[in-house]
Amino acid sequence: MIEVAQLRKEYGDLVAVGGVSFTAETGAIFGLLGPNGAGKTTTIGCISGLLEPTAGTVRVRGHDVVREGTRAKASLGVVPQEIALYEDLSAGENVRFWGQAYGLGGSKLRARMTDVLEITGLLDRADDRVDQFSGGMKRRLNFACGIVHEPQVLLLDEPTVGVDPQSRVRLLDLVREQANQGVCVLYTTHYMEEAQSMCDRLAIIDHGHIIAQGSLEELQAQMGERDLVRVSGSFDENDLRRVFSRDEDVEVVTVDDAQATLSVRQASSKLPTLLAALTRADSEVRDITVSQPSLESLFIKLTGKELRE
């Protein structure tokens, strides 16, 4: 279990994480979804004891990471966003070293080495040097090194970035497997689909703040029955806002010269009225798309911007 309370991390004037609180439960995957620079890695860094929080507390299985660092770290497994491996050692030697770093030894270590190399599909490459590996293989080995000591709490920082589709599927299965075995998994990503399919609970983070939190259903409920309608063409912002100001079913999320994003209740049946209103607002409509409520539409609704920028 990870308990993060009012966590804050500043770099000089820059607030990388500004008062984040959440709890990740045992046997489940807790997702931290947010765009690049949102503060995900910084949060993970504070939990893993790599960074010292400016304020707030982090507890791992009840142990405060600042005051009882060694005990907190002992139950943690970390799979960093940047691959952290010895390029000039073999896959097996890497796994062995990181196992030893968590106090494993002897036959137990040997058994675990075989296990993790096996499940990551690297057993037949165990004696090959890491600098001969592909990106996907390195990612899998990076993961193997993070779980060799059977941690009860696992921190995964964007583990699928830059991975080939095959390795990706394999990695995601492995993560699910860990949670099923009772591990508390914290999973950060900027891929909405990944968060949606993988995580039991989620926090959406932007500019160092959590802007929404809950289970997938709870988050989708926040979005309401509303669909997201993206219109491209040319618009006058004031006219557009005026036209829809009285309509309860339509909310203008963003507008600029060439694009407008609207949050609309039951958009499919409202499209004709919508188009009529747009014409009244002197808009020119070139293209219109309707999407069902999703994490992405929630993100857009909450922040007024797309997740992938």
């Binding site: 790599l50 770290k73 970390v78 940047e82 691959i83 491996l85 000039d88 070293f97 990181w98 090194c145």
Partner: protein
């Protein structure tokens, strides 16, 4: 404890995969040592020659250049004779000398203003080794004159009495070239070292007592030069630990950073132990140098090497980038080696310089090593010195650890 061992093993395995670097660090001092041994080790049958110098510059600097051949090791093989240019050409054509060095007018001014300038060396085509040694030592002397000018520009100006504008600016590029200077020396001397060594051995079998004394004089310096190179080379690895992300991963484990650092130092020390051990064996039994207290010498030199490594690691940690770190440590080696008796032994240095040099870490350790070799260092003194070295290492590790936890691991 188990993690300490794991770190040592891990680093030793990694080192074994990079034998070229190991060869390089130990090969450079060996090559330089070989050159000097070549110069000293032989008896009358060894190389010797006459260098004619036509000095048209007539300044302190040109005299300094000529003087380099009249001192220390080179004086033993090269006899310098100052001549007029005409006469010099005539005599070299007649094959009466190994080389003719021509220092044209304006040399001194050009050096002080860091302008490109040519001095020429006419080699006797009939000879091979001695002109080679002259040529190589010449470029070494010219280079060091150049560096001296860059590093101590002002005092040098005072001596010579001119006043260039930008003498005490030390640009980055200069510092960088200091660190590569040794490589160049070795590169250049290689052709003269290897094949001729064999030729020479056939002409001067055995070697006499005198030869052994010279080797004995240079031998400890060579060991320390190897240690300095190793310390610098090994210290770079801390940047690799950082760029590979492994340093951060270590911090996320329940282990102490200090354990990890000490493990790295121990791995380095073990390599030094092997290199020094082989060096001692070679010195004692291959070259027949009279050395006492070999086990003590081995222990002491290894501790000293570990201290140098800890020092270099600390310098790396306080540098702003890997490049800067390597330039800083590279630039530190040059004066340390020169001053600390690791290039030319203290006995071959002016007294005042030697007495300063004995206060450098390597110079201090070298002095003790010489006492061990001479059988003059009491066991208690050695133990105290080892304790002092251990204490220094502890302080360096503590500072390094703070630096790593503070800033080094993050940005």
């Amino acid at each position: 404890m188990r993690f300490l061992l794991a770190t040592v093993v891990k680093d030793l395995i990694r080192r074994r995969r990079d034998p070229i670097a190991l060869l390089l660090w130990t090969g450079i001092p060996l090559a330089i040592g070989g050159l000097i041994f070549l110069a000293f080790g032989g008896d009358d049958a060894g190389p010797s020659g006459r260098l004619l110098v036509a000095d048209q510059d007539h300044t302190v600097l040109s005299a300094l250049l000529t003087g380099a051949y009249q001192q220390g090791p080179l004086a033993e093989i090269i006899e310098v004779e100052v001549v007029e240019l005409e006469e010099g050409h005539e005599r070299i054509d007649a094959g009466e000398a190994s080389g003719l060095l021509i220092i044209p007018e304006g040399f001194s001014a050009a050096v002080l203003e860091s302008e490109p300038f040519e001095i020429s060396l006419v080699r006797n085509p009939a000879q091979r080794i001695v002109p080679g040694i002259i040529e190589e030592s010449l470029s070494l002397v010219v280079e060091s004159t150049f560096y001296l000018q860059r590093l101590f520009g002002e005092p040098l100006d005072v001596i010579v009495g001119t006043q260039p504008d930008d003498a005490n600016v030390v640009p980055d590029s200069t510092v960088a070239s200091v660190s590569v200077a040794f490589d160049q020396i070795v590169d250049r001397t290689r052709p003269y070292l290897f094949p001729p060594v064999i030729e020479l051995e056939t002409t001067s079998p055995g070697g006499d007592e005198e030869g052994f004394d010279f080797a004995r004089l240079f031998f400890p310096s060579m060991l320390f030069m190897a240690l300095l190179f190793m310390a610098q080379g090994l210290s770079e690895d801390i940047w690799r630990e950082r760029s590979q992300g492994t340093l951060r991963r270590v911090i996320a484990t329940p282990q102490r950073v200090a354990t990890f650092l000490v493990g790295k130092l121990l791995a380095g020390a073990m390599l030094m132990l092997v290199v020094i051990g082989l060096g001692l064996i070679a010195g004692r039994w291959v070259f027949g140098i009279e050395l006492h207290g070999l086990p003590m010498a081995l222990v002491w030199t290894t501790f000293a090497g570990m201290m140098l490594l800890a020092m270099m690691v600390l310098v790396q940690l306080f540098a702003s980038s890997e490049r800067t770190g390597n330039i800083l440590t590279g630039a530190a080696i040059f004066p340390l080696a020169m001053l600390g008796g690791s290039f030319f032994p203290f006995e071959a240095m002016p007294d005042w310089l030697a007495s300063v040099g004995r206060y450098t870490p390597n110079g201090w350790a070298l002095t003790k090593l010489n006492q061990v070799f001479a059988g003059e260092l009491p066991a208690l003194d050695l133990l105290q010195s080892i304790a002092a070295v251990a204490l220094v290492i502890v302080v360096f590790v503590w500072l390094s650890m703070r630096r790593i936890r503070g800033r080094f691991a993050h940005s």
